[in-house]
Symmetry: D2
Subunit: 345 residues, 4 copies
């Protein structure tokens, strides 16, 4: 059975990624891709990997009726247009931050408030590994923030297993690629200024912190750094459990959480070049790599997680969640394995 789909905001990076995934998806048919800036241009003129896709961008004001509408628009757009979106489609998957948090208070604290707070109860966070049951049949899905996703996938088993109780202090140090900044350009993101950086940005107060704290109820000290890659988010979480923990405890917690998950790889030590999670090992794929190390001297657990911010951290998570919502094969359309070798992902 084929579901019709549209992508609103399809000329941006995550919009293009959605089109790539939907084009290769056995259960979806792309009906519409909107873009204000590139209306009437071919999709391939913006996304060179999609030159074979016979489709032109259309005005976002004239939405086609579809089964699933994916919104890849900037923060604030979805909450403004949600009624039009829901009129056009039964299932909405929003890639912005507009429906990720649970309460109006959080939007007051971290964003500029929310115009449709009554919908926050209804929306489901798109990370399948933590919300599979709620996502089945959901009609309003909010794909998680890329940095938050990396951290949540990494830390989840520690909370689920009781190794962390939620009252510990958690340090999350994230390294991200330039695609996170979107297709806009600007001086700071020019190649000459952005290449080769280790550049702190939003060193405190990053909005994704709210998603992590919502997931676990813990205090999170979050900092992000831009590094020289295009795709990818790597979270290093430094946590200090109250009670001593062994390596075997960690393996047990992570294996229980992820052994049956189709999109999580445990990579924790071992041999070879790739011994811990790395974004380049998952570039283009929907995998999250998760690993850990124990530092007995400091009573510390270091958790590493790596995702492609445009896939597991955005468009891939959105398609994964849509698969679950529509009760089709969870992995459909997400079978790309990644490349080796590959450069700045």
């Amino acid at each position: 059975m084929t579901h019709t789909a549209s992508v609103v905001g399809a000329s941006g990076f995550t919009g293009g990624e959605l089109l790539r995934l939907l084009r290769g998806h056995p259960a979806f048919e792309i009906v519409q891709a909107t873009s204000r800036e590139y209306t009437n241009k071919t999709v391939g003129s913006v996304h060179p990997n999609l030159r074979e896709l016979d489709l032109r961008f259309s005005e976002p004001t004239d939405l086609a009726s579809v089964d699933v509408l994916f919104a890849a628009t900037p923060h604030g757009v979805s909450m403004e247009h949600i009624d039009a979106f829901r009129e056009a489609a039964d299932t909405i998957v929003d890639l912005s931050a507009d429906f990720r948090l649970d309460s109006e208070d959080q939007y007051d604290q971290w964003y500029d408030g929310h115009s449709r707070p009554e919908l926050l109860d209804e929306s489901v966070y798109g990370l399948v590994e933590r919300h599979r049951d709620e996502l089945a049949g959901a009609s309003l899905i909010a794909a998680g923030g890329c940095n938050a996703t990396a951290a949540i996938v990494g830390l989840g088993p520690l909370f689920d297993d009781g190794i962390l109780a939620g009252d510990e202090r958690i340090v999350v140090d994230v390294k991200v690629g330039s695609s996170e900044g979107g297709a806009g350009g600007g001086k700071a993101s020019s190649h000459a200024e952005r290449s080769g950086v280790v550049r702190p940005y939003a060193p405190t107060g990053h909005r994704h912190e709210a998603e992590i704290e919502q997931a676990f109820g813990c205090e999170t000290a979050f900092s992000a750094h831009a590094v020289d890659m295009i795709r990818g988010a790597a979270a290093t979480c430094h946590v200090f459990p109250d009670e001593p923990v062994s390596k075997a405890d960690l393996w047990s917690a992570y294996r229980e959480a992820y052994d049956d998950e189709p999109f999580v790889r445990l990579v924790a030590g071992g041999s070879g070049v790739y011994r811990y999670p790395e974004p380049k090992a998952v570039a283009g794929s929907n995998y999250a790599e998760v690993g850990f190390e124990l530092d007995p001297g400091n009573e510390r657990i270091v958790v590493f997680s790596a995702i492609d911010n445009m896939m597991k951290g955005s468009a891939g998570q959105a398609v994964h969640a849509a698969n679950v919502a529509l009760r089709i094969d969870e992995t459909a359309g997400l079978d790309f394995q990644g490349l080796h070798p590959v450069g700045a992902p």
Copy 2:
């Protein structure tokens, strides 16, 4: 119908790429992957994108009986072991240079001779766009060299259409990524020394020159430069036809050659960021992008072509040729479209 396949030399870069393609191929089943260095280790310990593949490297001395054997071994190995290969499989696809040239003389001139020259008549060059008919049913296939492939795909239509006659001087200036050097390491290929380079190598006398000259019978002045990418070969061919030619003539020649080819994109001018062929637009895919520009002031045609050296320039070409040889869908297993945005491919 499923064909069994093995990969000899599977721990190298192109060997891993073959495994990636065969794993996702609807008509192939991987039976064996050999590696002397990594015998008994998991494939995923070397190729991190293949951690989900439940397979260990085996000794190359104990070849399984399969339908197709892919040899991803260094130059000289296949000609030495060709009898064992043919005993193990009906169809051999060799990714080395051992069976690319037509005559012993060429091997005397460009390599260190050939131990099995009687097989050179039988082997078919793997570039489907130029050898589709011969490849159907072929039992010994030689995937082309990556730089040669880039140049041949770019220049072919000019010769086929008679714009070039073969007596002109052709300059081929190629830019290649570091995966071309293989998985070996070494000081010159260390990250600190190799990053950010525009480094001439084999500035004259590169062996791929022989393949281009064989294809067209023309004198070719070939130079290659290492640049900062991992995957990718981009050929810029500067040619000077004897007779004046118009842009319409060029479009006609290239459209006739490639409009029906599933793996060649014409990218010649137009709008947007990606107006000419670029390796990063085809990274991970089996596409060749081909474009051109006319320089009336200099009576010059500049032809640009871009491939992923590990795909269209090696493993992808090999699978494409195998598909044709086995008379299955030519595009099977080669549907990855590439990514956007993506960094050093």
Copy 3:
């Protein structure tokens, strides 16, 4: 003796490079740095390497009286403001294209004409290796284009020595870094789109072709490619002399030309990792590396040259020329040797 200097257009990349050089120059004192966009901001807020420089940008409309004015402005600005520049300073060093060509006809052909053609006779091309005598005492100097400089330094000895006569066809294939595009930004130059490229641009009709043809009177087929570095221009020149030539002839020609030149290194073969010219070996320095190889089979000489486009190809050349014009030590202020190892320069 100290000369006062000003930099007009100092917030751009070459403007910042001029400030860096003049700050460390024993014979110059920086009096003024102008910028319309950043008026009153500190130089260090734009150029982070110059935070120690106690200087703010001033309006370009209020020029200080100095000994030497360096103009690092876009094409067309200098010819418009040349009278104001000459009122402010006895010696003008212009880094734009406004005074590089000799005749109004050339500006009609390659640019949009010229508003002050009477000055073209007076201006001297800034490449010291070819114009040392004319530069001594010159009052209007035009620093050469970066790509043209790379090609001219590489090819010069072949013409001077008579190996090339000027009636041969010359192919110049240049690879350049992103700093060549300036500090402006824009989608095509964003990190996500520009990283990892081998991107043809201006594949024919590049304006620097005019400078090469002016230098040698030869027909030049020029193409440029953006590659993944920030600083650097590498020219590969493919030339086909009418008469046979030996490697010894080439060494003789290049040694005679460059053995006494303080800023040209011959790098032609030899051992180690760096056997031919490479931009990263000269990043930050005023050196040009020049090398060559002979291809007897094709009667071809391949000439390689590599510069830092912002140094030898712009600001360094400008300071070098100013040193000669003012008859001070030619190498003053230009003693930085470059780094090893270093990445995308």
Copy 4:
């Protein structure tokens, strides 16, 4: 007055950097550069930026008598050869870890013990900002580890000012370039495998942790990540003071510590692209950039520091310390300002 100098282990990366600095140093004359691997080869054949240096590597067994001997050898070499070194020179500056720690116990814990523990009292840690007085006249100097240097420069003012007392938990998350691995090569450091990484290494138990703990007496949770640059170490320190602290307190602490330091730049907020410390802003220079941000919600201070690991983190620190030891101008030979723009430093 000129001091004679030799570099033992001069073919490695930090050895080459020492030669570069000493060559441009007004008070040093290079007498000898040793290398076992490259004996009798020119320095320029290994370090392309030093082609103008008329010097060949000599055997390390035949040490010249000099004023200062710089040892750029692997860990364990200096302690073995220290008697020969001291016979050859009055002042030894060791760039390895052999004399950085104060006690044999520490070497037992973090290394494989120490063969000359009686010298540990005598040796002085080379970081001038913290050991200026001890370094004056010192005869045995141990340049600090690059990661440790970055962290110590960043955290020092917090301890000096009493904002941290030493009983707090400190998280140090470091991002480093590939030059840190040295000139050796190897598969993990090949360009194809190392490009574009965010790769955890030594996630716990990194030896530089010992230097930080020695400096401050605090418990340090240290993790390092390889990222895609060549030069550079960036430390992000997450600290949680017991008492509340204001931004003004932080500025006061850091200004007092660094306002008069010639090689430390405070970069904490402000406008423009470069608002926090970045390794590329100091590449090639001896500067450390230090900045901070306050996270009131988490009672956290985030401290950022960035150095060129081969300069402030090694060779530059060594020359700086030697300047102080010999009581010459502290900044002599270290005046390079860095570049803008510049890529992967």
